[in-house]
Subunit: 398 residues, 2 copies
């Protein structure tokens, strides 16, 4: 038999997508499935972005610059000015989604065997990118009791070896929704500086903050300008996941020059995604006012709803559009599958993401699920009701 | 100083793009630069593809299936039927360009240290993808004297070790334009079968064949169905490089399941590229008749023009839109830079790709250049005239 790579065997299956066949079966049985499992918002993509695509009038869809069209990078610089981040177009490398930007970052700073420290639970695909790059994720456990605040900095310190090349944080966080404070970011600055590590900051949910709080970007940190790699994307900000347009930004010229070589090998990022992204920067402020108001109402509906369920607990995070909730269950993988295979309440069920897929420490997250609040408030309320009924009869209830 | 990876240091600079700054300088001096250096056709993208983009009417640009939209994969199956290749949608994984499809293939079948054999000169970015994946390219030299025909199969045999996992061929070939014969493909089938290797066949130039010849796909080969990985793309076929839409196809289920995990980690390929690609399959036949006629005239103009230059030699390949020509020069890297920095003829110069970048054996290709015939015949003739004049005065002329 021809040879499948070890790397390929090690690649994790997506914790979100592995339940998809069961959801499809449930739908075939006529059951309505509420999808709270994936970060695909139902919010409309801004018209200004869709119109730019409609108005594309080139006769040949050509390669663009490997780092992305200059006009797009200039526009991104303009966007960053509005959030008090000073960048120039030469400090940005556009990728096919933040996904590619993360891969470029990992590959530019780490060789096989090197390590990146990430507070867990973390965005499951970081694992995939790590396996892809042959590097190791060292997880530092954050706790639901503290609402998934940054773990004590000593926990990071203890895990730094000569293989450690970077710390990665997602802020606001996927999957927890936690918004890191200025003080937490500064403690990361100190440790990164002390050990001369990169700080990879995935800030794709920057705009989605609630309760009057604002995101404190890694780009605001003084004295580690050469260490910060910013990861960003239009997917969530403008509800445009399908355009596959993200980027990395850094003041570190050597890093950018290196990442550009990876970018050149694949020629260029997608033209239409770039056109949409460039236009999206001009999305009117009212759009965000409306969207944030909507997400806030959803978050409140989910958090309050879950906390009313006996034995369940959900912190009230200040960012993104996810929560990780603790449920009175034996095993979230089993529970999430059971919801789709063996349960319905008045012809309805819910699809959740088992939190185990967001931990790399074995056994963690077994009584936790991630919920994306990407549905309308009424549907969320209906989902929580279904979840409540499910927990009354789930055989693995604790 | 923070750490740049060894991999990042090893990543090759694009042999095509490294001359770009010199071309820009030349333009600033008012010189007209004929771009024969890059495979960016001037042919118009089919209207049917551009119209599909204009008519996109979804309100939310959502993630698609990680393997690509089912409707696109079904359409590709339809396309393959027209070239007598039998595939089903589950055997196709859509990527962001053939670039990503090649990366998925490399990563799914090779671990760091493993080897892939490729006849050289070869498409330079294979090197980048290899470094990216930590694998090694073993080049087998093909010769300009034979028009870059497949090297003797013994040369492959000699280079197979227990690290060898695949042979890769690009057919029709970039950079040489060579079209492999049925017999050559069958000799590859035999060696692949004997050693149970994968045969990665990059067939993105399938339609561009001349002199009444037709491409013989690796998918036609009997008895190695589990070994063949087809790489394909809309970039060249429909002159739509910027949409970044390619794919891999294979009858090997284990391979497809593995590649899908890499695809899932990056969520999905670009939606608009998929929309354009799906529509492009319906491009009317007249489009290709016209395009092929155009490319044929261009090939003839280039080949005949170069062969009229004293001391120069250019084979007459039957495919793609490239030739590799031998020029009476000391060093093609120096020559191509000199053309941009120190030369003009009546205010014009040409930008060529030094062939050295398409070889991985050091020192090879020093008197060869790759020419992409992606300009109109009159411009090509003017370019050849400029090249002729340049060779009269180039200080490194041999």
């Amino acid at each position: 038999m021809v040879h499948i790579s070890k790397k390929g065997q090690l690649m994790p299956e997506s914790p979100i997508r592995k339940l998809v066949p069961y959801a499809e079966e449930a739908k075939k049985r006529g059951i309505r499935v509420y999808h709270l499992n994936i970060g695909q918002p139902d919010i409309e993509t801004p018209e200004v972005a869709l119109n730019a695509i409609k108005n594309y009038d080139h006769k040949v869809v050509e390669y663009s610059h490997s780092a992305g069209m200059l006009s797009l990078r200039e526009k991104l610089v303009e966007y960053y000015r509005t959030v008090n981040i000073d960048l120039n177009p030469g400090e940005i490398i556009v990728g096919t989604g933040a996904s590619e930007a993360i891969l470029f970052s990992f590959q530019s700073i780490m060789d096989p065997g090197d390590e990146v420290i990430i507070p867990e639970p973390f965005y499951a695909n970081y694992n995939g990118f790590a396996v892809n790059s042959g590097i190791r994720v060292k997880p530092i456990i954050s706790s639901i009791e503290t609402g998934f605040a940054l773990p004590p900095i000593e926990d990071f310190e203890k895990n730094i070896t000569d293989k450690t090349k970077a710390i990665l944080v997602c802020n606001p966080n996927n999957p927890t929704g936690y918004l890191y404070t200025k003080e937490e970011m500064e403690s990361l600055r100190d440790i990164v500086k002390r050990h001369d590590l990169f700080l990879i900051a995935d800030e794709v949910y920057r705009e989605f903050t609630y309760d009057g709080k604002k995101q404190y970007s890694a780009m605001y940190l003084k004295g580690i300008e050469e260490n910060v790699i910013l990861i960003d994307s239009v997917s969530k900000r403008y509800s445009a996941c399908g355009v596959r347009l993200g980027w990395m930004a850094s003041k570190n010229r050597e890093l950018i020059a290196t990442a550009l070589k990876f970018a050149q090998a694949r020629l260029s990022p997608p033209t239409f995604g770039q056109v949409a992204a460039e236009a999206a920067v001009d999305t009117p402020d009212e759009y965000f006012v409306k969207v944030k108001k909507e997400y806030l109402a959803r978050r409140n509906a989910v958090v309050e709803g879950i906390n009313r369920i006996e034995g369940a607990f959900c912190p009230k995070p200040a960012g993104a559009f996810y929560v990780v909730a603790r449920l009175p269950i034996d095993d979230s993988d089993k529970f999430c599958r059971w919801l789709l295979e063996d349960f319905d309440f008045e012809g309805q069920t819910v699809m959740l993401a088992p939190a185990s897929g967001f931990y790399s420490t074995p056994g963690k997250g077994k009584d936790e699920v991630r919920i994306s609040y990407v549905l309308k408030v009424d549907d969320l309320k209906a989902s929580i009701r279904v979840l409540n009924e499910a927990l009354k009869v789930y055989p693995g209830r604790k």
